[in-house]
Symmetry: C2
Subunit: 419 residues, 2 copies
């Protein structure tokens, strides 16, 4: 990473603390990622993106801001990128995956709360995340109790707009979500002083669709036996997607997919167990579960998570000649994301069964961040549908700490032997 001390200083960061964070990342990334054998050449870009995640990308954001652009931080796949693009702003995902931030998060939040929530609050209040420091506004949503209430604490530190996501999918909830998107558009227009026109919103929809399409292409390639890319690498691509410039991300991921397509032609089937992860998101640098699983005789070929399929499944139609029509299209796609925050959430059960077939899954690992009530309770339903089809399932509830790695490894070894 280059010398960004001045930039970080200008962003009012806690430099000493940030140095500690930065010093740990390369080692852990090297151990987990760079020791993988036979990685695609095109992963070099994503290695670079990760190495420069607090450097070159932040520098880009500052340059864009100097040119009048606004940066908005988001925490959830429900916030429509289409609107952010249409307002000519930059969106960055602020979900945080490091144990480093937990201690600071716990200064203002209860300990028995989801690590992701504690980490993003800790990242802000410790001033050690340059993305938070670069944001002109945060965009929250009412997807879970933890996040919903944590935004009230963040609001003391910076402006935040919260979108009221309906908790059900009745007909009227789709209308209500359209209204929320309109309110969000208005807020983005105020922030950026750019008008969200039909033309711009269509362009935003197309850009977001292209981004989703390339991720879908990547995931489709993982359906091959063996997958031409490790679960770890695919996860890194998804994680970078939340931070990177969308056009560049699309180009680089297309290149990666081209290379993977070539690989597929010359592959010999392997006997590795094919694993699906289903559950809660994995934000940078949370590679804990993937690194454990793939150090054993198994490969993760799909993640039914918010940093997996829920991020890119289904497109937004760009058909329509009015803002209302386009907003309806956006609402339609987003409210059909099968998150456990909805009741009921039967669509997720259908997705999981579908992926089991499509990705030729040998076993499913239910990944639950500690204290995430919605996913923890939905486990019983997933257990039931998989039991009915005789698909092995393992439930892992964990946080970001390293204390339980040995225990999780033992459980996964036993699971792999069984399937």
């Amino acid at each position: 990473m280059g010398d960004y001390k001045n930039m970080w200083e200008n962003l009012d960061m806690d430099l000493d603390k940030h140095d500690i964070l930065c010093s740990a990342l390369p080692e852990s990334f090297g151990e987990i990622y760079l020791t993988q054998k036979n990685r695609p050449e095109s992963m070099n870009y994503f290695n670079y993106a990760l190495a420069e995640v607090h450097g070159a990308r932040i520098e880009e954001l500052q340059k864009s801001k100097e040119n009048g652009k606004k940066v908005v931080g988001t925490f959830c796949v429900f916030v429509p990128d289409e609107v952010i693009f249409a307002a000519d702003a930059i969106g960055v995902g602020l979900c945080s995956g490091s144990q480093f931030w937990i201690e600071d998060g716990e200064k203002v939040l209860p300990r028995n709360l989801c690590p992701l929530v504690k980490a993003f609050v800790g990242a802000k209040i410790s001033r050690t995340c340059p993305y938070f420091q670069s944001c002109n506004m945060l965009v929250g949503e009412t997807t879970c109790d933890g996040k919903k209430k944590a935004y009230e604490i963040l609001q003391e530190y910076m402006p935040i707009h919260v979108m009221d996501l309906p908790q059900m999918k009745k007909e009227k909830d789709f209308e209500q979500w359209q209204q929320e998107i309109k309110i969000f558009i208005k807020r983005m227009e105020e922030l950026t002083q750019n008008k969200v026109t039909v033309k711009r919103l269509k362009e935003g929809i197309r850009l977001a669709n292209r981004k989703r399409a390339v991720l879908k292409r990547l995931y489709d390639l993982r359906k091959n036996i063996p997958s031409p890319i490790s679960g770890l690498d695919a996860l890194l691509v998804s994680q970078v997607a939340f931070m990177d410039d969308p056009d560049r991300f699309i180009t680089k991921t297309e290149q990666l997919c081209d290379e993977l397509e070539e690989r597929v032609k010359n592959q010999i089937p392997n006997t590795k167990k094919r694993i699906m992860i289903t559950g809660t998101p994995m934000a940078i640098p949370n590679w804990k579960l993937h690194s454990i699983v793939e150090a054993l005789d198994a490969e993760i070929v799909v993640e039914e998570t918010c940093t997996g399929t829920r991020y890119f499944e289904n497109q937004v139609s760009d058909k329509g000649n009015t803002l209302d029509e386009l907003i309806k299209n956006i609402a339609q796609r987003y409210l059909n994301i099968h998150c456990a925050c909805f009741t009921p959430n039967t669509g997720r059960m259908e997705d999981i069964l579908e992926y089991v077939k499509e990705y030729k899954i040998d076993g499913v690992i239910y990944y639950n961040l500690s204290f995430c009530h919605t996913y923890a309770i939905e486990y019983k339903q997933v257990e039931k549908i998989l039991k009915d089809k005789d698909i092995p399932l393992l439930n892992i509830e964990t946080d970001y700490s390293e204390e339980d790695i040995g225990q999780i490894k033992t459980r996964i070894e036993a699971f792999l032997e069984m399937i």
Copy 2:
């Protein structure tokens, strides 16, 4: 309690298990309640109501059902009683406050979940709660992640209608809540085959208002020094309110208030510390915190909880000549309940400060059921506003078990010495 074996059998209850539950209650009630000195005579009715909570009241429900009435179970102060009354149905609160049900709840729910949620699910699946067994339908709401998802599990056992409560209080959220009330009315009409007319809804509003008014009268009496009624007794009255026939409850509580008014005339001020409880609800037979506090030199004079002020504050206007107008009035009152499920929830802060003055509070105890994220996170805000006014505050997070009673007692003793 009389002999209700046949009735319980007809309700498909697990009689052996239910016997164990029933055998524990009188002893604990006797120890906590009947040892209180100088209780109001009129509390005899509430003693009786508690003693017959699984007996005489259930018998009444059966008789009403034989006469064609429907019984609906609710879990939350957001479900409008007005609608249930207008459909000529009977509403009963199913929130459960006993450790007895936790073990069964944990069979289908994660352990690290709010005890109230685990208890009500356990009560149903163990078939040991005659209220659940008497219900024709349950009415849930999307107030918290735990309840919202637990209803999906209950749905496997009986019909349930879930109301989608908005998570914010924007102008459009009031409209959305009116729509939800309309959907609820339709569902109640289907269930009961009774039309909810303007006349009936007005009568429902008036009955619910009378019930709220008498609770408000009781709480106003507690503003005296000393309070003419213990916190334990006031809590019991509130708890009975959720189960009892509303007309009889109103009559009996008016009688109690008459007696308390007489008491007030002849009282000598005491020096007991006046405590406010703020936080999560206390369902029957959860008397844990009150019994600890009032065994010391202190009296609980107000509960800013769902089994306290949130249940009765503010009335519904009965002005209006159309269903739409009345529904708007209902939506207005209910969406103005200051529950931590909303973001933001600044109204609660105002209420707490107001009650500190009105009830002449010496210290506040923040009562949080374990793993309740919304109230746990909101603690920081309550801490801040009380610190600004120099009002002592103690945070108690606990469940229904008896294990931490000693520790809580020690902390409260220290707290009372300090204030």
